[in-house]
């Protein structure tokens, strides 16, 4: 039977049709008319190939592959370089004429921090804020990298050898034409460089060398030379003084060897030996840091110092209590009899008993007192100061002063140079790293004169005003890239050594001058010369009993060699000069006094943002200078802080903002120099105002005082960036809050000695929080307010150590400065004569820290050794911790400040090298604060661990502690009963700021004692 099999009803019904359909395989899609040739040319294979190729191409194009250079491990490890370990090299700072010994800390071959060299006798391990910050100048991205030639106002980069040969050509041209070769330099303290310059002079006899120091106290030097003829000028040794009388001097902040002065001064401020306390009277027209540290501070008009000195001398020589009698008493009596104490105190509105006490103190401490006159005083005042020290028998309190190897030039010599240029007899000027256009008096006309000289070669690290008056600029190495030696003229020889290859292939100036002498440039020429020089000149006289190589490397290691010649010469005064001078009582006219800047040295650090952002020690103004005026005078002239005024003097005009400062003398305006420079780089250009426009040679030779000036109020304002709010001291609402809140606790020495003075402590404290026991090391800090003078070295040291960003003037105005440690200044008393209290303020690392419990993400917490820690990675930036911090020491990164400041200034390649690799660079939106230098603690702990012993608290020094010239900061383990910290923590003068909050801070402040009589205490 033929059985029919069907698959569908269709097939059953229409078998034929269904059969046909079956044969068409692709019924719907591919039809009969399908023609492959009508398709596009791309085959499936080709399509895949193209896709693959384009995919590969995209992948390659999108990768961010840059050749990051060859990374090579140390096949041959450089000697003594261990990754992660710091190396320290001794060298010498060349920021000013003091030439302090420094230790440069390097990591993997790059310098990251500078500190004082403890073996160096000049500064004994401490350096100033400026030196701390000078490391930024090394990495300054705006340093000159190639020589520049001025081609009709356009700067062209040329090769070094071309510049060198054109300099050599210019020298030979001047020599053949018989024209003068003028070399302008800072004072030369280097014996080897002095020799090179002398050789240069021998080779080119037309050479004259001019050296100067900015704001050189010419009257002071003249007075010394007249009073002690043919005897070297001296500094004062404050450690020997029981009574210090400062007249317009800022010896604790920027005059002379102030780092040494600070450490000497605070030796007699030790609360453990109250019998050795010095008493410090300060007469000043400005309110300086020195005056702020005085026991008695008396504002006095700048014209009154000869009057004051005359009065004091008159009182003293008529007291019949003098122990010394080697002076013409009767002649002096008649000379000074016109100065009556009663008249003086009345005219100057000073309490009579104060001057009487001063006279008594001086008479009671003959031989152990010091009268110091400031750099801005005139010849007569200095002469009388020397006289007063002499008749009080204080000449033993002088200590040697560093003197340059080549003697300095007077302004008269510069005036002659100016004339020679005018007469066309100068063929070439070589400017050795100076800024004469800015520094020298404007009436000498160097601005025009430089243009008249056919060749001006400036040896500079970076741009300054003089650069723009030069024909060729030759870049030179930074001090940290250079060799050098420095001699103080008496006994101390210091060495400077390079700690890094010159970043931009530059040569140091000594090397170039040496090459000019030798006629050709050789690498490393000065290094060899220096060694030979030392072997010949110094080693031969040293009698050390070792080979020269041993001697050389030991000096290089120590950074200093002190020769044993310590002869003390007795000073022989010449009283005749005193007889001959005219001493006037002075007219109190409107007067302007020029002051040295606190942090800019001679102005060459103006392009250093760290230094511009350190708040002014008194007014806390950053990024500017200003004209300080007393509140009373400002009210009389209807001025408020920030008003622009015009100072008119001898037809010259100067526009500047004023700032009201308490304690400024009547009719006195003071301003700091070093600011207001044009063309010094992106940071420093046009920062502040340049008062030098008013000063001529005459005024600079006789003290930096302009009298009979007139002030015109301009109807314009200028924004000054101060880190604190300023209130009038007459505002009763906010007056003396620091005292009533026990932030500042002070007593008199007398009340401390007789046991009456007790610091305010809160004995009974209860807490609902269980106390946490710290059994191991517990870190704590003590700050001795008797010693802190407020110099600001700690601020810069902290900035450098902890990669603290610079925020810029606009952000300081907004109140966003980032420094982890600040120095608070409090004023008490009247605005005419306030009492100033200084207090470094940093994170107090409270045991029950209020910042910790409010952080929602536990980004700030407590370590087992008592540190209040910040975990940057965890921080989301709610800022609650900062709000809840009673000390307001937390700092928030409102921006990525490295990027925000000056268009990413700190993001430039060279400045990246500046960061301390041990410390995280914080990002935007993160809170930060003092860590008690946790990286140093960790480092010390690792060392202890590696050596298999317990870590001791005394092994760690924080950056601020290390920098403090007064040793006011003590850090260590409070659980170690024998430690210094635990001793001071339990000292009867120790107190905590805001103790009543019971948050258990760990920074103890030692209450300041003023050596005042109780009755004088307001």
């Amino acid at each position: 039977m033929d059985k029919k099999i069907w698959k569908s009803l269709d097939e059953l019904k229409f078998p034929v049709k269904s059969q046909i359909n079956k044969q068409i395989e692709f019924q719907d899609s591919v039809k009969e008319e399908f023609d492959p040739n009508q398709l596009t040319g791309i085959s499936r294979r080709k399509f895949l190939a193209i896709s693959a190729a384009s995919f590969a191409l995209t992948t390659v194009a999108c990768t961010n592959y840059r050749d990051k250079g060859e990374i090579v491990p140390y096949n041959q490890k450089p000697e003594n370089v261990l990754p992660g370990k710091s190396n320290f090299y001794a060298s010498t700072c060349t920021g000013c004429s003091n030439h302090c010994g420094i230790l440069i800390k390097t990591r993997e071959g790059r310098p990251i921090k500078v500190d004082g060299n403890p073996d160096h006798p000049v500064n004994k391990g401490k350096i100033c804020a400026t030196a701390q910050a000078s490391i930024l100048n090394l990495f300054n991205p705006e340093r000159y990298k190639k020589p520049l030639k001025n081609n009709n106002g356009k700067w062209e980069e040329i090769e070094f050898l071309a510049a060198f040969s054109s300099l050599l050509g210019a020298i030979n041209k001047a020599a053949t034409e018989g024209k003068e070769i003028a070399i302008i330099s800072k004072p030369i303290f280097s014996p080897s460089f002095a020799k090179i310059l002398n050789d240069f002079k021998t080779k080119f006899p037309n050479t004259k060398i001019y050296t100067y120091d900015f704001l050189e106290p010419y009257p002071k030097q003249r007075a010394w030379m007249d009073f002690y003829p043919n005897q070297n000028p001296k500094d004062l040794d404050f450690s020997k003084a029981k009574i210090i009388v400062s007249l317009e001097s800022n010896f604790l902040a920027n005059e002379g060897n102030f780092v040494r002065n600070i450490s000497d001064f605070v030796k007699n401020r030790d609360v453990n030996s109250p019998q050795n306390f010095s008493r410090f009277y300060s007469f000043e027209s400005d309110l300086t840091l020195t005056g702020a540290n005085a026991d008695y501070r008396i504002p006095l008009h700048p014209s009154q110092y000869t009057y004051l000195l005359g009065t004091l001398i008159n009182e003293i020589i008529n007291s019949n209590k003098l122990l010394v009698n080697n002076f013409p008493l009767e002649q002096l009596r008649s000379k000074f009899s016109i100065f009556k104490l009663n008249e003086f105190v009345k005219e100057n509105n000073i309490e009579l008993k104060l001057i009487k006490r001063l006279v008594d103190d001086l008479l009671a401490n003959q031989g152990s007192s010091i009268i110091i006159a400031g750099d801005s005083l005139n010849y007569e005042a200095h002469l009388l100061t020397y006289l007063l020290n002499e008749i009080l028998g204080n000449s033993a309190n002088y200590r040697p002063k560093a003197l340059p190897v080549l003697s300095k030039s007077s302004l008269e010599e510069f005036s002659i140079l100016s004339n020679s240029i005018q007469n066309g007899t100068v063929g070439l000027i070589i400017n050795l790293d100076c800024n004469p256009i800015y520094h020298l008096p404007k009436d000498l006309g160097f601005q025009n004169n430089f243009k008249k000289v056919s060749d001006v070669f400036s040896f500079l690290e970076s741009e300054n005003e003089t650069a723009h008056y030069s024909t060729t600029i030759i870049p030179i190495s930074h001090n940290f890239e250079s060799w050098g030696d420095y001699y103080d003229g008496i006994a101390v020889y210091s060495l400077a050594q390079p700690v890094i290859e010159p970043l931009y292939g530059t040569y140091q100036k000594e090397s170039i001058i040496l090459a000019l002498v030798e006629g050709k440039m050789r690498n490393d020429n000065y290094h060899k010369y220096l060694k030979e020089f030392w072997e010949k000149e110094i080693f031969s006289k040293a009698n050390t009993g070792v080979t020269f190589e041993q001697f050389w490397f030991s000096v290089l290691h120590n950074g200093v060699f002190v020769s044993s010649t310590t002869k003390t010469e007795k000073l022989v005064p010449d009283f005749s000069k005193v007889q001959n001078i005219n001493i006037s009582k002075g007219q109190k006219s409107w007067t302007m006094v020029l002051k040295k800047p606190y942090f800019l040295a001679d102005g060459r650090f103006i392009n250093n943002p760290w230094l511009l952002e350190i708040p002014h020690p008194i007014t806390k103004v950053t990024w500017d200078n200003y004209l300080a005026i007393s509140e009373k005078d400002a009210n009389a002239l209807k001025l408020i802080s920030g008003d622009l005024v015009e100072i008119v003097y001898n037809g010259k005009k100067f526009e500047v903002p004023i700032f009201i400062v308490p304690g400024i003398a009547e009719k006195t305006l003071t301003i700091e120099a070093g600011f207001g420079q044009n063309n010094v780089g992106t940071i420093g250009s046009n920062v502040g105002f340049n008062p030098l426009v008013l000063f001529t040679k005459k005024e600079l030779e006789t003290g930096y005082v302009l009298s009979n000036i007139s002030i015109n109020k301009l109807d314009r304002k200028y924004k000054l960036a101060s880190t604190v709010e300023h209130h009038s001291l007459n505002d009763t609402f906010v007056k003396d809050l620091h005292k009533s809140r026990h932030i500042i606790q002070e007593g008199t020495l007398e009340s401390y000695k007789n046991g009456k003075f007790q610091v305010h402590r809160i004995k009974e404290k209860m807490s609902i929080i269980p106390e946490i026991k710290y059994t191991g090391i517990k870190w704590a800090m003590v700050i001795d307010l008797n010693k802190c003078v407020g110099c600001g070295a700690c601020i810069t040291a902290c900035n450098v150590e902890n990669n603290v960003p610079v925020v810029g003037k606009d952000q300081v105005i907004r109140g966003r400065e980032m420094q982890w440690i600040r120095i608070d200044t409090y004023f008490s008393g009247s605005p005419e004569n306030p009492e100033i209290s200084l207090q470094p303020m940093l994170c107090q690392h409270c045991d029950d820290a209020p910042c910790e419990n409010v952080c929602p993400v536990v980004a700030t917490n407590h370590s087992p050794d008592g540190l209040n820690q910040m975990v940057y990675n965890r921080c989301v930036g709610t800022r609650y911790c900062s709000n809840n911090c009673p000390y307001k020491v937390r700092r928030f990164n409102f921006f990525d400040f490295r990027n925000h400041f000056a268009n990413g200034f700190f993001y430039q390649d060279s400045l990246k090298l500046l960061n301390n690799p041990e410390v995280t660079v914080r990002s935007r939106g993160v809170m930060e604060k003092c860590t008690f230098c946790i990286q140093r603690i960790t480092d010390a702990r690792h060392t202890a661990l590696a050596e298999g012993r317990e870590l001791k608290g005394s092994e760690v020094k924080t950056a601020c502690q290390e920098a403090c010239p007064a040793n006011a900061i003590i850090f260590g383990d409070m659980n170690d009963k024998n430690s210094e910290v635990s001793y001071w923590r339990n000292h009867q003068l120790g107190y905590f700021v805001l103790e009543e909050l019971n948050i258990k801070p760990n920074v103890t402040y030692i209450a300041k004692l003023r050596n005042k009589l109780q009755e004088d205490k307001a």
């Binding site: 604190v724 709010e725 209130h727 609402f733 906010v734 809050l737 620091h738 009533s740 809140r741 932030i743 952000q811 907004r814 109140g815 966003r816 400065e817 600040r822 608070d824 200044t825 409090y826 303020m841 209020p850 419990n853 409010v854 952080c855 929602p856 993400v857 536990v858 965890r874 921080c875 989301v876 930036g877 709610t878 800022r879 609650y880 900062s882 709000n883 809840n884 009673p886 000390y887 307001k888 937390r890 700092r891 928030f892 990164n893 409102f894 921006f895 990525d896 925000h900 990002s923 935007r924 939106g925 993160v926 809170m927 700021v993 805001l994 909050l997 948050i999």
Partner: protein, 453 residues
């Protein structure tokens, strides 16, 4: 003087409308095309929102430095706005939950709107803690999310309490509001002729059929949720006030803050509800449903809460003096006479002095004066938060850390943006959902309740 007959409940709805008239009146804005006025209003508020968005974009890109905050004033407009908007939200919950529990029938006309405002205000407020951080891209750290690092949030921080308080508040308010909407959505579903709308309404009305069982369940859950929401009215702003009260700053660290903040929140919330309702009842012809009587009652609440706030101001001063704590007294004298005295006196005059005008019945019942006072109350309450947040931190313990806060354009832009966000949401809401609860209004119509005589 005519006697009031207390035996008869006063009518809440005027004009004795029928149920369908109520339906028509309330559903009208949803069913008709909006006029140009609506688009103008929307345009303005969206522009404000965009202003804020742009300012916020810049802030995210460059950092919080664009704002006026500084050391020591770490919080300013951000937290001021946060507290302000959380406060605005409070009136809604108070009206919908507490007044419901107290059987205050006059609330029916305004409850829906007030609840919606709560949600929008809390949404606006909730933005600020998220954007005020320095690194907003890490805001996730603020939530207790399990992670490999075993990093956990800090439960002692009031900011974490905030996270929980605000998110709970937002959730409960939203659920409460949505449950209340269900019967109305069903009515709208039944009324609408548009297919799309019908689908949407059908989904969200959850199959509501007005059945007796539905109503039974509905009433029960509504009551339970009202019970839930009631403590939240008190707790949320209490916890917000802990942001300050738990700190150690004099001026923040006070025990009066929780009740003071809650009273202030209700105060400002009522002012905001009153303000917006005045506009809405006018535009959408709902004057007979949102009657002058209701507005007057709100004004009375404002008068009462305003005086509570005023009492708190006075009490703060008294305690500052009575505690004998010099830091404390300094802060309060500084508030009144110090660097931000202008802000303080704006606050006192707006919140305490001007509201006293509500004692006068005529003012209480006239639209323009009450509107102006309402605006002033909101200005005053914004400044109250400003005074608390900014003046306190600007002058704290150490005089050397004092500073002054000045807002930048970005601060102001973001403040405007927050109003933009709030009003944009409100304006979209009044076109999308019934601004008055249809079913509740029907329930209080004179003939709605079963009569037994």
């Amino acid at each position: 003087m005519n006697q009031i007959d207390y035996t008869i409940e006063p009518q809440i709805i005027e004009g004795n409308p029928t149920q369908s008239q109520v339906n028509d009146a309330i559903a009208k804005p949803l069913e008709t095309k909006p006029t140009w006025k609506y688009y103008l209003a929307l345009g303005i508020s969206v522009s404000m929102l965009l202003t804020g968005a742009i300012c916020l974009g810049y802030t995210f890109y460059y950092g919080l430095g664009l704002w006026g905050i500084n050391q020591p004033i770490g919080w300013a407009f951000d937290i001021v706005n946060f507290v302000f908007w959380v406060g605005i939200g409070h009136a809604g919950t108070l009206i919908s939950a507490i007044l419901f529990l107290f059987r205050q029938k006059w609330r029916t006309g305004i409850a829906r709107f007030a609840e919606a405002m709560t949600i929008f205000a809390v949404m606006t407020a909730g933005l600020f803690p998220l954007i005020h951080t320095g690194r907003p891209w890490l805001d996730g750290y603020l939530f207790p999310l399990p992670n490999q690092h075993h990093l956990w949030v800090n439960f002692t921080s009031p900011l974490i309490w905030d996270v929980f308080a605000v998110s709970t508040y937002l959730t409960v308010s939203f659920v409460f509001w949505y449950i209340g909407l269900i019967p109305d959505l069903a009515i709208l579903r039944d009324r609408t002729k548009s297919k799309v709308k019908k689908i949407i309404y059908s989904i969200f009305s959850l199959g509501w059929r007005h059945s007796n069982t539905h109503w039974h369940h509905y009433e029960m859950i509504y009551l339970v949720l009202a019970g839930f929401a009631t403590p939240l009215v008190l707790s949320v702003h209490t916890i917000v006030s802990f942001d300050f009260a738990v700190s150690i700053l004099p001026g923040w660290h006070t025990t009066i803050f929780p009740p003071y903040f809650v009273a202030g929140a209700v105060f400002s919330g009522f002012a905001m509800v009153q303000n917006v309702l005045i506009v809405i009842r006018k535009i959408f012809d709902l004057e007979h449903i949102i009657t002058l009587d209701i507005l007057e009652k709100m004004n009375k609440v404002m008068l009462a809460t305003g005086m509570m706030v005023g009492y708190a101001y006075g009490m703060e001063f008294f305690i500052a003096w009575y505690s004998g704590n010099p830091l404390e007294s300094f802060v309060f004298i500084n508030r009144a006479f110090g660097n931000y005295a202008w802000a303080y006196w704006i606050m006192v005059s707006c919140n305490v002095i001007f509201t006293q005008l509500f004692w006068i019945k005529k003012i209480r019942r006239s639209i323009i004066p009450m509107f102006i006072i309402g605006v002033l109350v909101n200005v005053g309450m914004w400044f109250e938060r400003f005074v608390i947040v900014v003046t306190t931190t600007s002058r704290d313990f150490l005089p050397t850390s004092w500073d002054y806060f000045k807002p930048t354009l970005y601060d102001i832009g973001i403040l405007i943006g927050s109003f933009g966000l709030f009003f944009t949401l409100v304006i979209l809401f009044i076109r999308a959902l019934p601004v008055v609860s249809i079913s509740e209004v029907k329930a209080i119509l004179p003939n709605s309740q079963p009569k037994h005589h």
